[in-house]
């Protein structure tokens, strides 16, 4: 259970980072004037992804023994 939660959080975090990067990229923009992210708020996904990976380390150590 502990391992499952940790791996899930790490994978979800990495996925969120990739999605955040892709969603923030200004696809099809031809000038820097159109450089805003394709989806407003996409950087939040990237930040949440980092938080998820770091949180996984914290949870792995802090979860009580019953989560074995």
């Amino acid at each position: 259970m502990r391992r499952t939660i940790t791996v899930t959080l790490v994978v979800a975090g990495l996925a969120l980072m990739v999605i955040g990067m892709l969603a923030a990229a200004p696809w099809g923009a031809e000038s820097v004037a159109d450089g805003d992210p394709t989806f407003t708020g996409a950087p939040i996904l990237f930040v949440l992804g980092i938080g998820s990976v770091i949180g996984a380390a914290l949870l792995y150590e802090l979860l009580p023994d019953r989560f074995e």
């Binding site: 992210p37 950087p43 939040i44 990237f46 938080g51 009580p64 023994d65």
Partner: protein, 435 residues
């Protein structure tokens, strides 16, 4: 040795919880300086950035990135060495450096916090800046890395590293009745030192150590890239900015770590735990980093001077014999003097704390001056448009805010030292704390 660090009336090791008169004076002094810095910042908030000496480039002939940005670069740079030393000593099991791993982690956390505060202080509207960054920034941009990756990645990771790394000791000191017992219990979070917990702890710390080094290298490289990718700014644009930033970060970070280690050693009554071998290791690392930093300074200067376009040449002239010459030559001299001090000790194989601390102060000051020269002259003297050369020197508001940041950092470190064992506990200390 452990007994020597006990205090009368308290069984907490390493003077934890004992606030002497000197410590009270220290805290009071730091609070006063930080308060003065806050006052200066509030003047800035109420009246706008006009109260500083920062001005736009071009027609206003100034520098919009002033002392605050210099301090961002410096503080974030200082954070680099601490966590890397802690992680490397854990992964490669360098026993000599393990006693100072918590000092190193603390230096990283403290310098990251004040570095990020310096970013916010530099913004006219900090809240708007952070919100807009979350909404509109692009993670591919180095500007995103300078703040978000550090604030949301490196700082939380360093805090988790510090927290988990000290949890075992928290469980030990939490057994001891004291005013800090509640804090220590909270920190221990139920840790009971079973075999399974120890195994988990080792695994987590190993993977955190492995993960945190590339994370901080990426985050810090982007600090250099912020300057290196600006094609329209002579003196900044270049592929060396990223590695140069890392090397100078390593030198300034190691120098600060060495000084802090010497201070902690003194505070703990010249404890044998931080022995000559610790300083030898730090001295060797610092020697390599300072030599590389000096090498980069010289290479950059030669590149700037040799058959470069007009604006680069004008900038080089300004650095060598213009208004920035005194800072430039002082920084070179300080870095070289620090390096010579280290080389002498390496040559004689006698690493002494006094000369090492002196070398560290020289190198750290040189690094700060070098950061200043990286940030400012390109704005005042290297515009591609036909503007007259500008000028910039920080005013008292900026100096007061920066002094406040230093005081805040010192306060954070001081509070930690009084609230928690700054050195990992030895078996002797655990026995005493358990008693």
């Amino acid at each position: 040795m452990a007994v020597a660090t006990q205090t009368s009336g308290s069984l907490l090791p390493q003077g934890v919880g004992r606030i002497t008169r000197t410590w009270r004076l220290f805290f009071l002094g730091m609070i006063l300086i930080a308060g003065f810095g806050l006052y200066a910042y509030l003047r800035e908030v109420s009246s706008g950035m006009i109260v500083t000496n920062m001005r736009d480039t071009g027609t206003m002939g100034g520098a919009p990135w002033g002392l605050y940005v210099v301090m961002v670069e410096y503080f974030i740079g200082v954070s680099f060495a601490g966590i890397v030393i802690a992680a490397v000593s854990r992964v490669f099991r360098i026993r000599e450096l393990q006693p100072i791993s918590r000092i190193a982690e603390l230096l990283t956390v403290g310098s990251l916090m004040v570095g990020l505060l310096a970013v916010l202080i530099d913004l006219g509207h900090p809240i708007r800046g952070v919100v807009n960054m979350l909404l509109y920034a692009r993670p591919q941009s180095p500007f995103f890395g300078t703040f978000m990756l550090v604030a949301m990645g490196v700082l939380p990771a360093s805090l988790v590293y510090l927290y988990l790394g000290a949890r075992q000791d928290a469980a030990v000191v939490a057994e001891q009745p004291s005013r800090l017992q509640r804090l220590h219990r909270l920190w221990a979070a139920g840790y009971s030192d079973t075999e399974a917990e120890r195994l988990r702890h080792r695994k987590v710390m190993f993977w955190l150590s492995v993960g945190i080094v590339p994370l901080i290298v990426v985050a810090l490289s982007t600090e250099g890239l912020v300057f290196g990718i600006q094609v329209g700014r002579p003196g900044w644009f270049g592929s060396l900015q990223g590695p140069d930033f890392l090397v100078l970060a390593a030198a300034s970070g190691l120098a600060n770590l060495l000084v802090l280690t010497a201070i902690v050693r003194r505070l703990l009554g010249n404890t044998d735990r931080i022995g000559p071998s610790v300083f030898k290791w730090l001295g060797r690392f610092l020697l390599v980093a300072a030599a590389a930093a000096l090498y980069f300074m010289i290479v950059e200067l030669i590149t700037l001077m040799y058959a470069t376009p007009e604006h680069e040449r004008l900038l080089a002239d300004e650095l060598i014999r213009g208004s920035y010459a005194w800072i430039f030559w002082v920084s070179i001299a300080l870095m070289a003097a620090g390096l010579v001090l280290l080389l002498v000790q390496a040559g004689t194989r006698r690493w002494q704390i006094g000369p090492l601390v002196l070398a560290s102060v020289l190198i750290s000051t040189a690094a700060l001056a070098e950061r200043y020269l990286t940030v400012i002259p390109s704005q005042t003297h290297a515009t591609l448009l036909p503007y007259e050369p500008g000028s910039y020197f920080p005013n008292w508001i900026e100096f007061a805010v920066v002094a406040g940041l230093f005081a805040l950092g010192a306060l954070l470190i001081g509070l930690f030292i009084k609230a928690f064992p700054i050195l990992p506990l030895t078996d002797d200390e655990e026995v005493i704390a358990d008693a």
